[in-house]
């Protein structure tokens, strides 16, 4: 589904990604772990097309199509979803209005019929209930006045409503307490653990991976993937830390 080949990227002319190659097939969940500053968030932003992140070499394709040629909203319409590490607050635009606009924009781009207000609210309520967010909160400004945990749950509500094929989740577990972590983890499984979908899960810690079991784990250090393996690699990292692995790669 997603094929990253020798990806190099810079931010403000500073090289951050230095040759990442990764293939994610439908039905797979890949975890990318790594220390601070290893390029994890940069990878997620480059994949989603954030302005200011320049690809200097390599390619990324989604179902064979050049992803890097597309604007962020076009990537979303192709089925890509980015779960933000720091979800953005948008005063004056309600969650409901935002998501209905987003969902219908994607549906239009795919040649599908738009959802009516009633149909949309039914879907929104279902997803908000599943993640313990009240509809009252959904009517408020996007992420305005939300706690850190509520913002992350809101990301999952959005993912549930938009129902993407490929989710790139950037430290979705950061800032969550144990109960919220479970709710969010179960949300990822419920929405994305399907044969026709795939997930790239970026995280610091193993604890989310106990709920969302990855098929593959990759260690990112210094802008490169220094090791890949199965779920057992996450346990090893939890035991031994990133230090030895990052040094070995350097």
């Amino acid at each position: 589904m997603l094929k990253i080949d020798n990806l190099h990227a810079t931010v403000d002319d500073k090289p951050i990604l230095k040759g990442i190659s990764l293939a994610i097939n439908a039905g797979e969940i890949h975890a990318v772990m790594g220390p601070n500053g290893s390029g994890k968030s940069t990878l997620s932003y480059v994949l989603a097309g954030r302005p200011g992140y320049a690809v200097t070499e390599g390619s990324v394709t989604l179902d064979g199509e050049d992803l890097l040629e597309l604007d962020p909203h076009e990537r979303a319409a192709k089925g890509m979803f980015l779960g933000f590490q720091y979800p953005v607050e948008i005063p004056g635009v309600s969650n409901v209005q935002f998501l209905r606009t987003a969902l219908n924009a994607q549906r239009r781009a795919r040649g599908e019929a738009e959802l009516s207000a009633g149909e949309f609210l039914r879907v929104a309520r279902e997803q908000a209930d599943a993640l313990d967010l009240s509809m009252d909160m959904m009517k408020r400004g996007v992420n305005v006045g939300f706690s850190g945990g509520e913002k992350k749950r809101n990301e999952m509500v959005q993912m549930g409503i938009i129902d993407p094929r490929l989710a790139i989740l950037d430290e979705t577990d950061s800032g969550l307490d144990i109960d919220a972590l479970r709710v969010v983890g179960q949300g990822i499984n419920r929405i994305m653990r399907k044969p026709d979908k795939a997930v790239l899960l970026i995280t610091h810690y193993e604890r989310l991976l106990e709920i969302v079991e990855p098929d593959f784990v990759h260690v990112l250090a210094g802008g490169r993937i220094v090791r890949s393996g199965g779920p057992e690699l996450a346990h090893e990292l939890e035991r031994e830390g990133y230090g030895a692995m990052a040094e070995a790669a350097a």
């Binding site: 989603a48 097309g49 954030r50 302005p51 604007d71 962020p72 909203h73 990537r75 979303a76 319409a77 979803f81 980015l82 933000f84 979800p87 953005v88 948008i90 005063p91 004056g92 635009v93 209005q97 935002f98 998501l99 606009t101 987003a102 969902l103 924009a105 994607q106 781009a109 996007v142 959005q158 938009i162």
Partner: protein, 362 residues
Amino acid sequence: MSLLTLPSNREEGWRWSDLSALPQLSEREPTGRVPTDLPWIACEREGPRLLFVDGRLDETRSRLGPVEIGPVDVTASDHPLARLAGRSGWRLRLGLDHAPHGLVQIVHVSTGAADHLAAQIELDVDAQASICETFIGEGWANRLTGIRLFKGSRLMLSRRLLGASGFISQVDHAQVGQGASLVVASLAAGGTDTRLDGHYALDGEAAYAEASSALLARGRQRHDANVVVRHAMPSGVSRQVWRSVADDRAACSVAARVEVARHAQKTDGEQSLKGLLLARSATINAKPELEIFADDVKCAHGATVGELDRNALFYLGSRGVSPDEARALLTRAFVADALDRIGEEEVKAAFYADVETWFAGR
């Protein structure tokens, strides 16, 4: 018209104005062509309707109700544009505890030349009214409105400045009595330049006055506003919410002042002047002023000018919203602060529809 004496930019109150089109507009002849579709707002409770074409009432298409036509008693003042508005026009005087049936709607159509008109609104004790004026067409529509609100009366005055080209100038002179409430909400979302002047005096104790406006400009358009809220008596409350949006090489300028007299203790005045630049070549001027002589007052003012939040634009994009739609969504949210002050849902909906039309014209 050689009699047209206009202020120059050297005068502080006119420093951001561009009145250069007015002499030429004054010399033109009106075409008299009125569009068949007029921007009446469909209301559940239909009220009086007045259609003015080039400043003259079209009786066949008007339904006056309690509104009268004739000489009006307004202070012409020394305001250079207000002076031109004359002493005749429409008048709404409501007696004790009276209210017109439904929304009073006034549509002003300019057909290529200059037209001047005055108006007088006088609400007796506990009377109330809601008036919506809509300006369309091309030319120069120049208006002076005198407002007098007696104890406990309430006036909602909303204005849609939608002229396709030319100039719209509006001068308000208001006296707000004890416990009375005046809300003036304006939206400039057409192709004309505008100049809004307001002098709102809170002359009674615990009076309330509010001026909220959204000014949308593109191309080489200029919107220019100069408003003074004067607290003359204690315990008054005033709110000014101005939202300016400028694209291309357009300019929006707002000078807003709150004056608090020495004995106007317990005054609560707030001013919020915000500007949004949709292009680096556009201009926003904001000049908030406070002049306070009383010592026990609460006055807040804020002025900011910025661009659309890039993080928000990317966030919206990552969810599938196109750049144009994202800009529109965020800009709508920006002006909502000013438009949400409008009480009637039908009027508010019309204002939001006007904003949509403005975006569609991009």
